[in-house]
Structures are given as C-alpha cells and as structure tokens.
Symmetry: C2
Subunit: 536 residues, 2 copies
C-alpha cells in the first residue's frame, strides 16, 4: 500500500493552532474598534494588542516563563481579557481561580493547580492573606487594582513581545469545577481545543439569518464570570470577530444596566439567576432591552423567567454545555419562533457527536421521550481531570464524555435535558425529573424560585419534595395549593406520572446556590435531612 500523506515543502508553515492566531483578523481589521471595561476604561483593539505585549513583558520580568502557570483573581474586566490572551500566548497556562468558592476551597485549588504567580485584585487580597499560611509552595502574589497596580505594571513594561510558536496541545487554561462530591476537580484546555471551540462557537452561533445569533456588528458583554469556563468561550469568539466588547467588572445590576444602555450591548450570556437579578432591579423598566440577545446556560431556562424576559423585549435562547465541554455543545433555534423552542437544550454544534445512551452505551431512540445519559464527543472536550485518574476514567467511560445529564433527543435532532443524573428523583420504579416539576411550579403565582428534590423514603426509595421561595407578600398556603393543583393537572392529562405529586411543599427565605449560581441540590438535600418539619 502506497503511503498517502500530504507533501510538505521545507519552508512550509505547518500552522499549529494557537490562541495568538485568534487575534490576527481583529488586529488587521478592527484596530479602531473599542473594548470597554466598567464605567471608566476604554481602549481600541490596537491598544489592546500593544498592551498584550506589555503584559507579557511585565510577567516575564517577574519570572514567568513557558510552561509555568499564572493564576488570576479578578472581576470581569479588560485585565482578565488581557490575561486570557497574553498568558497562554507566552506558553504559560492561565489558572482562572474561582473567587466565589469558600476560602478552604480556593486554597485547595491553588495547592492543587500549582500556579507560580497569581495576579490578585485588591478586593481579594484579604482572602489571599487568610489562606496564604496554607500554601504548599512558593507563589508570587502580584496585587492589582482598578487603575493603580495593573496599569502601572502595563505602563512600566516594554510594548513588544515575540510570542513564540509551540505544540498546539500545550495547556492554555486551567480551572476547577465543583462536583457533586469530593474536592473541586481541575479541568484544562489546550491551545488547539480553545481555537477549535472558538471556531465552533462562531460557526454554531453565526450562520443565522437576520440579527439572530452572533454577528460582526454585535456589542458583546459577558455575564458569566470569566473564571467559569473562560466566560463560556465567548470572549475568545468576540475577539476573533473583532466586535465591540464591554466588560462589566464586579456584577452590580444597576451598573450592568447602565453599561448595556450606554454602550448599546446586544449580546450576552448568563445563568438564569443573573438575568433574574437584572429583571428584579427597579432600573430595568427604564432600560431599553429590546436589542439585547441573551444566551441562557448553566441551568434550564425556567418558563417564568422566560416570560418576564419576553415582556422586557429581550431575545432569550437556551444553550447547553458544561465545564468539561469547554463548554459549547448545543444551542436552541436562535431564530426560534416559540418560547418553547427557544428553551430547548438545542441542536448540536458543528462537529459535536451527541448521543443519548443507556447505561450499556446503546443509543436511545430519538422519539422525544426516551431518556438516557447525554454522552458526547467534540474537538474541544476536556481529556480528563488534572491528576485524578479515577474521575477521568469515569468521565470517559466507553470512549464518550459522560455529561451526567439525563435527557432525550427529538426526531428533529434537538436535545432536551430533563435532569442531572444525580438529581433525578427515583420513586418506586419511576424516574421523576426534578426539572419538569420545577418548570411547572415556576409559573405559579407567588413562586419566586423553586427546587424539587428527592427525600429518602423507606418504602419508595425517594419521594419528591418541593422547596419554594415565595415572592414578597405571597401566602404560602395559597402557593402550596396552586403548585400542587398545577402538578395534579399535568398528572390528569398524562404528562406526569402520579408518583410525581410531591409529598411536601416547604418554604424558605432563600435557596442555597453553588458558586456559579446554580441551585445547590446537595445543600438542599442536607436541609431536608436536618429539617424536622419536613412534611407538608
């Protein structure tokens, strides 16, 4: 058999996929376009490009070399965006530290992730001082602030830096995801994966007619923390497209609404909680949000929230992914006509091999109802957890990444997540989706927020229980009655099993959340166990 391989000239450039190449078009074409950060800072892309060289020189002068790791603890600012590029472009790995974790967890991720140097915004210096005695190795701490420290560092450094070529499989980023059990787990992405994810994101969100999806004339503002899967990868995509970008800094609803109005923001992404916070703010009614497109991910899009967003003129669309998937896997119909279709977990992105499988890895039929675990392949999936062979092996059992999510595929290829595998309520022989109960109850008058969880039950294994946060002034008894009658109505028409009717509806002033804003069902289950009044 003849070898078939492409001929390669001696001088031919093999073009490893590197993050620096995401800048090529933007630097050539969008030099005059602006990047805005908070109320007071703005720069052109041309200046941004120059600052990347300065940042690299500043880091190099503090000892950063290829192969090292650079941690960042900051709000969502232009500083963070600059680190997204300059650090990996130097050949170092960017460790985006989750500042919302408990001090003990932050310490754990630092000791496990082993950054050589950490840039720390002054707001997080008290935290660093608190945990510093627990550091297991020397870490250089570089305090940065608004204006002062970071800008001094940039100004003092030389502008030019020769960003080298290297293996595209080199680690570019590292962050930690808080699982359901045990310590946070390290997830890393290579240059190749991030470049491919960026192309996949633009190919998946860009080719829509009209103004749907992502366009070159959008104005982009992330509302997912940049430590969370690189702000879902959109900052890389926005930069490759050379669009106007707006960074909100520390999340404050009034400041975000002001920036949206002042800068004409048209595209954002966030978890439902963040959107709810903005809609709850009194300034919201005075802000024109009719040009604002928002991708909702991280959790299912509650119908009640969707209705409120629709009323405010926002174009909402759901997407699906997770920390281990970089995160883009699927997105609902961006031009979708109905609220239902825009809340679907969506159609797989380009190159995404999306399956719903039985425990023995056979495909569930695409019938819009048979559920199984979502298992995927794509060119940008985490290849394992850092230094955790057991969890890595479980993640990739059978050669597909196991999302831990339960869902079904419709005949048209769109996915519907029905629950987290671990959140499914197993009662008798039935699997009840906690999400479907939450969706139904979220639209009841008086319900601000709701969680459905399985309470251990000797006879049935588990029984569903609702935990509700009421809107101000709502009568809990009325709310309970409304919730149960909505569920009974769904049972009556056969949309829910009779086993789905909750044993109890409890009320709380606040529901516990994880560091990225999702309902913390682990904590909720603990509350139920600790709670003696756990009957309706």
């Amino acid at each position: 058999m003849r070898m078939v391989s492409s001929s390669s000239a001696p001088g031919a450039y093999a073009y490893p996929l590197l993050i620096k190449q995401l800048l090529l078009r933007a630097m050539a074409v969008s030099g005059a376009q602006e990047i805005v950060s908070g109320p007071d800072f703005r720069m052109t892309y041309a200046r941004f490009g120059e600052r990347l060289g300065r940042l690299a020189n500043a880091l190099a002068s503090r000892g950063v070399r290829e192969g090292m790791r650079v941690g960042v603890m900051d709000w969502d600012t232009h500083r963070y965006l600059e680190c997204f590029f300059a650090v990996p472009m130097m050949g170092a790995a960017l460790h985006t530290i989750n500042v919302r974790l408990s001090p003990a967890q932050v310490l754990y991720t630092i000791n496990h992730g082993k950054p050589d140097i950490i840039l720390v915004h002054r707001d997080f210096m008290p935290l660093i001082e608190e945990i510093r005695p627990g550091f297991e190795r020397d870490v250089i701490i570089v305090p940065i602030g608004d204006g002062e420290g970071y800008e001094t560092l940039i100004d003092a450094a030389a502008p030019g830096f020769d960003f080298p070529d290297f293996d595209e499989n080199r680690m570019a980023t590292l962050f930690y995801t808080t699982g359901t059990t045990g310590a946070p787990k390290g997830v890393s992405y290579s240059h190749r994966q991030l470049v491919l994810h960026t192309l996949g994101l633009v190919a998946g969100f860009g080719a829509e007619s009209g103004d749907a999806g992502v366009n070159r004339n959008d104005v982009y503002m992330p509302l997912t923390p940049l430590f969370h899967v690189h702000g879902w990868g959109f900052p890389y995509a926005a930069t490759m497209l050379g669009v106007r970008q707006v960074y909100p800094g520390r999340y404050a609803p009034d400041a975000i609404l002001r920036l949206i109005a002042r800068e004409g923001v048209t595209f954002s992404h966030c978890v439902p909680t963040i959107l709810a916070t903005l809609l709850d703010h009194p300034d919201c009614a005075r802000t024109d949000l009719s040009r604002w497109k928002v991708i909702i991910g991280g959790s299912a899009l509650p119908r009640g929230l969707q209705d409120r967003a629709d009323a405010a003129g926002i174009s909402l669309c759901a997407a699906y992914g997770m920390s281990e998937t970089c995160p883009f896997l699927s997105v609902a119909d961006l031009n979708g006509g109905t609220p239902d279709s825009r809340a679907h977990s969506g159609y797989p992105g380009p190159l995404v091999d999306m399956r719903v499988v039985t425990p023995d890895m056979r495909d569930a039929p695409r019938d819009g109802e048979t559920t199984g675990e979502v298992a995927v392949r794509a060119p940008w999936l985490a290849q394992g957890y850092l230094d955790d062979d057991e969890a890595s092996g479980a993640l990739w059992k059978g050669g597909y990444l196991h999302t831990g999510d339960v869902g079904y595929l419709r005949a048209d290829g769109s996915l519907q997540i029905t629950d987290r595998l671990k959140d499914v309520i197993k009662t008798g022989g039935e699997w009840i989706s906690s999400l479907s109960l939450e969706t139904i109850v979220s639209t009841c008058p008086g319900v601000e927020e709701v969680a459905a969880i399985g309470r251990p039950d000797e006879k049935w294994g588990e029984r569903p229980v609702l935990v509700v946060r009421c809107t101000e002034g709502a009568d809990p008894d009325h709310v309970r009655e409304a919730a149960l009658s909505q569920i009974r109505a769904k049972v009556a028409v056969g949309e829910l099993s009779k086993w789905a009717i909750p044993d109890a509806v409890l009320f709380r002033e606040a529901l516990p959340r994880t560091s990225v804003g999702k309902l913390d069902k682990k904590a909720l289950r603990q509350i139920l166990l600790d709670d003696a009044d756990g009957t309706s």
Copy 2:
C-alpha cells in the same frame, strides 16, 4: 521547568479532525432537508448519509482500500458530492480530475496523480479511451452515467460502512493546478486542513447581520466546477450547515436559471465569466434573481459586470483565494454599501495571517497604495506541490506562502489585488497594473471583454496593449477611441501613469481562457507575438 500538557484519560477520545465529522450535525438535525441534482434527482440528507455507506461498499468491492487514490471525472452532481465525502472518509484520497484540460494534460495529471481507480461519467469516456494507451500504470475505469451506472452501483451495494478513524494529516483530496509555466502541479489537502477550512469559511461568511453572507436558511448552488479546489470548499460548508443544496450538473445557462428559480437558490459562487454567461442569456430577464447572493472569485470583479448584476438585483461580493490556499483567504464586506467596497479583495478570514511584502519579506505600509506580493499563512494552505520540491520551496520561501499576486493593504485591513505578479506590465521604471487598465476599459460602451497585456519592447522592456472583444454591432474605431480617452482621463487626474496609455488596441472575436474560465494571458501574449498587425 514543569511539563505543561493536558491530562488525558485512558478512554478519552482525542478527536482527530476528519471529514466524516462535518456530517455529524447535518445527519442529526437536517435529515429531512433536500439535496437536488439537475432537473430530475433529489434526495434527503438522511438518504445522502445512507448512500455514502453504499458508495464506500461499492468502491471497497472494486478494491478501494485506505491509502489508495480514487479519481473522478464528472459534471457538478450529487455523485461528485458523494465522492467528496465517501472517498476521503474511507481513508482514500479523492483525485478531482480537471476535465477541461487538454487530453495531453489530463493524461499527465492521471500519470502524475496515480489514481488506482477512476469514476468516469459517460460524457468523458471518449476522452478516457483517447488517452488510455498513455497510462503508465493500471487504472480501473468505472463508467458512471446519469441514473444508470452510478445508481446501479449504489443500489447494488450494502448501506452500512464503518468509516474508520485515522491520522488527521492524511491526504483527503488531490487536484492539479495549471501554472503559468510547465506542467500542471499537484495540490493536496489533508482531512485536518479541509475541516479547518470549512470552519473558517463558515466563521468568515456566517457572522453577518441580516441575510448577508451564509445562513442556515440559504439554498446553495455551486457554480465553480467541483474539480476546482473542491468547489472552493463551499460544498463541505453547506453540508456541515445542513442547508438545502442544488447541483447544476453540466453548466448550461438556461438549465441553471431554471434551477435557481425552481429551487429558490440564494447563494452561489463563480468566476466572472460564468456570471456573464448567465446574464447574457435571454431567460435571465425573466428570472427573479433578487434573492441571489453570489461570491465572485478566481479573477477580479469587472465593474461593468458588477453593474449588470446590480441591475438584475443580484447581491455580488468579491472574495480572494487560490488553488494553493484551499482557497479562502479574504472576502469583501458582505454587508458593504458601495459597489466599490463589494469589489475589494477583502478582509482576511479568521486565522489568516495576510501580509503584503517586499521581495526581502518586509511588510509594505498599509497605506492603500504601496504594492507588494501577497504572502500568507493559514491553517489550510497547501504544504507544497506533489513531488515537486523546487516549486514547493519557491511557494514557501521565507516561511510564508507566496501567492504570486500583487496588491496593497488599506488602513482598514482590506486587501486589493492589483495584478498577478507575472501579469504586471513593466514599462520603463513603471509597473502598470493590467487589471486597472481592464477595469477602466470594461465600462466603455461596446466593450464586451478586455485584456491588457505587456508586449515586449526593445526600448521600454514592455508596452501595454489592449485586446478587446466588442459587443455585437459595435464599431471598433469608436470603441478604440472611447477606451483610449477613458484611460487618458485617468492619466489627466493622476490616477494612472502616462506610461499606462496603451500602444495598441486590438480586436478579437473571442479571448482565450484557461480551463477554469480565467483570461489566459499566456495564450494572449503568444497571439501578440504571432500577430503581425499588432499596431493600432
């Protein structure tokens, strides 16, 4: 220094970039979408997917194995599209044979490219019979026709085929480009390059607002022969997006116009000549072309043609690339407001490193006038010519691919090609762009087509000469006068050097063209040399 590389679980799928993955989304989501071929054939994507397995089994039963090469000689049909996928997906290389070359050249490309088997449409069987005695090795010839041969082959084969994984750098496609001198040169692309080109194409053409560029609801028809750089790569992009596709078969203006009308075609790409042929056809005036977007490449977009297309309601936009660049390098502003801006060679695509360089590889200033050779890097450039080290080395001199095109960059990052390096007219110390002369004269009344070439001149090196094909009934003397006075007017306002005024304007019934429809300046120069009446 600590090693920095991503951890990889034992079962983790490393995801080599392979052409089969371009089908994943389409098969999951667009199963009911249609692919149309000529007046009589249509199939769904689901059927297309099934047929790929059948084609692979049919080829395997004829001895095709991984590492072999499969040639195709066909019109632009669904058969060709099926070969675009099934052949590389088997691990074989697809040799797209240029059927417009002379028989001697076709023979050369077959002997040089070494296909093991060739699928030949019955229209090209006489050509094959003519050159077969010259074959230097055994080649299996499989005759295919409309319906009969090919469909029998598909129907007789089993549907399922397990397309394997392999190295993403394996050769996927091979074709020949006719250079300015010497024999055709072999250009090949790997799976990785074609997948990246597809993502780059969709990212580069997709993220436009409104209906500009490429959208999911476009209806696609290629009008660049599929043997020419895989129809510029758009069939792969259209398939990845799962859009409706229409294949024209053998190019016949009336049939193409009927298909555009009947199938609602909205997106095509072609060289200027093909568009001119359609606009010349009497049925054109009766066809609604107001929803049709056409990308023009291969040659500069003549202003005269652009005006005619505008009048017909067509949205025209120029793009730039070449056989050795897969081909996408740049595209003009797809939402561009002015005819001028839509005729620019355009803005570099994502990940494209585009330079205009002096002979010693220094960057020309981006001033909108200083010309140099266009030199590029991108993840999808040919790494050399097949078995031609000397030409490969010249192509990649200095680590950048040398396009052989002369142009300049504007301050906004857009490129303007002014000429082929070899077509520049060098007169005295001046370089005159043949293209700028052609552009000016193309708008003169009575000019159907025009070429500007340098005629050897003892005193000046070269002197410009125009060769014109007149519109029917035009008076050559009037045309000559109009052409020269237009050029003199540009000289008077300083837009052209006085050396650009042609020494002669010649008239011909037809201008010679290359196999892909470009003006053949090599042949034109020969005509001038052979022509005794070469004075005005």
